[in-house]
């Protein structure tokens, strides 16, 4: 993208019908370090590649718990992300106060998207420079949404955002069809593998990634959204590396195609196209 005369204001359309400021905000997301999300019918996992400003500092926090049943991973301007996390938490708490029940994830994603849209239609505002993967659990199962600075949001079986996320997306595209039936453990492993793809040769350890999971066990009890302890992650990474002599477990064959054919939830089917859905 190059500078042009229509990109100063978010409230100026280009002749081609584009809002450049919004698109520039989406570029900010691409500059952030990678995050991936994936889900089965009952569990959703978020993972992020940790980036530290220098060896002396701690890494940036990219995964936030929003409520017991939901959390986000973000990429882009993390300060914007922190503010949006606070908003999401507040929405969940207010809903729980009135209705004594968790806010369904689709409605949470909608509120976030509406908030982002406001910033694309006010001359005195700028779009939020952060993309959020919203993962959560509600009555209808586990969900994963991607919320974009443009105010668009989509539901996904699996997705990756941030720098070098294309490598992760390619990995996920090959395997997502079996995810509905994956166990939580398999989901975590695939999340780690996807993050590994974005590290481009750098060794994956528990200190350069964060993984969080939320889900419902078979007996109906809820496992609240929680980051997995570093030691446990290292154990999983070690066992993955040990198993690398043999090829990784093949993805389960799609059960009558029902899992992959769900109407509005499979955005991960742009195999081979360069345009990322959110660029529209």
């Amino acid at each position: 993208m190059f500078r042009n005369q229509y990109d100063t204001d978010v409230t100026t359309w280009s002749p081609a019908g584009r809002l450049f400021q919004v698109e520039y905000a989406m570029e900010a997301v691409k500059q952030g370090s990678a995050c991936v999300g994936l889900r089965s019918r009952t569990h959703a996992v978020l993972a992020a590649a940790n980036k530290a400003a220098s060896e002396l500092s701690s890494h940036q926090r990219k995964v936030f718990r929003v409520a017991d049943h939901a959390g986000v991973a973000l990429a882009g301007l993390t300060a914007d992300g922190r503010v949006l996390s606070r908003f999401l938490r507040s929405e969940c708490i207010n809903h729980a106060f009135v209705y004594d029940a968790p806010l369904p994830v689709s409605r949470l994603a909608l509120r976030l998207a509406d908030k982002a849209q406001v910033c694309t239609q006010r001359s005195w505002k700028r779009p939020y420079g952060v993309g959020l993967l919203v993962a959560g659990l509600d009555e209808s199962g586990a969900h994963l949404y991607y919320n974009c600075p443009s105010g668009n949001y989509f539901e996904y079986q699996a997705f990756a955002i941030g720098s070098r996320s294309q490598a992760a997306k390619t990995f996920l595209e090959r395997r997502f069809e079996g995810y509905n039936d994956y166990t939580p453990d398999q989901l975590i492993r695939d999340a780690l593998s996807a993050i590994k793809e974005t590290l481009q040769g750098e060794k994956l350890t528990s200190s350069n990634c964060t993984v969080a999971i939320v889900g419902r066990k078979d007996d109906g009890t809820v496992e609240p959204f929680e980051s997995i302890d570093g030691k446990k992650i290292q154990e999983i990474i070690d066992s993955m590396e040990a198993a690398e002599e043999a090829p990784p477990p093949p993805a389960a064959a799609p059960a009558a195609g029902a899992g992959a054919a769900e109407s509005s939830s499979m955005q991960e089917e742009d195999k081979g196209t360069d345009a990322v859905p959110m660029d529209i």
Partner: protein, 254 residues
């Protein structure tokens, strides 16, 4: 049971100060058209709720075909005693709620617990503004939770007091029906047993509550949905010796 202002005017001044409409205005302080008791209990398949179809205007039994139990969404029933116009207002709020919930079409729906919690917030907030919705509400329902079907029965009143129980009553029902329910309610009653128990309570209320009329509606809510049965009457027995020739032993001067 006309509610009267405290004689010392203490109540009136409080609400006059709090009213947002301007100096010297007052919000509703007492109810006009009121329904009497509602009773409800959990049984095997869900929740059963019953009340009479009357609405009084003070001591006059003014309206005789009033439906004081309504379905809410797919999973709940609401029954109300107290000011009938406030109940209609509550139904409007619930209509908005259930409509927008339905329009989401996302596999989530408001269960009885959520509706009860919402109503509790509404009632308590109105009370804090000295502008109550003058009702006692019973909210019952069944919803499939992650641990199977869960029956729910709760109540909330005009001051925001709320709780859940296996059997609930409002108004006079608290004094006349609850003792019967406490003695005879059991877990997992069949529908027929539950109706019999309910009718026993309704009959006592008919005899002893002067605001009740002999026309009742029973409603049930199960996983299949809500059913409100058409109104019917109970058989009463007035054939006591003491009721014949009531003036027989009376002392009169005219």
């Amino acid at each position: 049971m006309a509610w009267q202002q405290p004689m010392d005017g203490s109540h009136a001044s409080g609400s006059k100060v709090a009213a947002a409409d301007g100096p010297g205005t007052q919000r509703t302080q007492y109810p006009y058209v009121t329904g009497t008791s509602v009773i409800a209990l959990k049984y095997k398949d869900g929740v059963i709720m019953a009340c009479d179809t009357g609405a009084s205007y003070g001591s006059t039994l003014r309206y005789k075909s009033v439906e004081r139990i309504k379905a809410v969404g797919k999973h709940s029933l609401i029954g109300a005693s107290g000011e009938f116009s406030d109940f209609q207002e509550i139904l409007r709020y619930l209509d908005e709620l259930t409509l927008s919930d339905h329009m989401w079409d996302d596999g989530n729906s408001l269960g009885p617990k959520e509706v009860h919690s919402y109503l509790t917030r509404v009632m308590y907030n109105r009370r804090n503004k000295f502008d109550p919705l003058w009702n006692s509400l019973i909210l019952g329902g069944v919803k499939k939770g992650p641990k199977g079907e869960e029956k729910y029965l709760g109540m909330v009143n005009m001051i925001g007091t709320h709780f859940e129980e296996n059997h609930i009553a409002t108004g006079f029902g608290n004094h006349l029906a609850i003792p019967i329910l406490r003695a005879e309610w059991r877990e997992d009653m069949t529908f027929e047993e539950a109706v019999k128990l309910v009718e026993k309570c309704l009959l006592v209320l008919l005899y002893r509550d002067r605001s009740s009329i002999n026309k009742f509606q029973i409603a049930k809510i199960t996983t299949e949905g809500a059913t409100i049965y058409p109104p019917y009457s109970l058989k009463t027995n007035w054939g006591f010796a003491a009721f014949e020739n009531p003036s027989k032993g009376a002392v009169g001067s005219w």
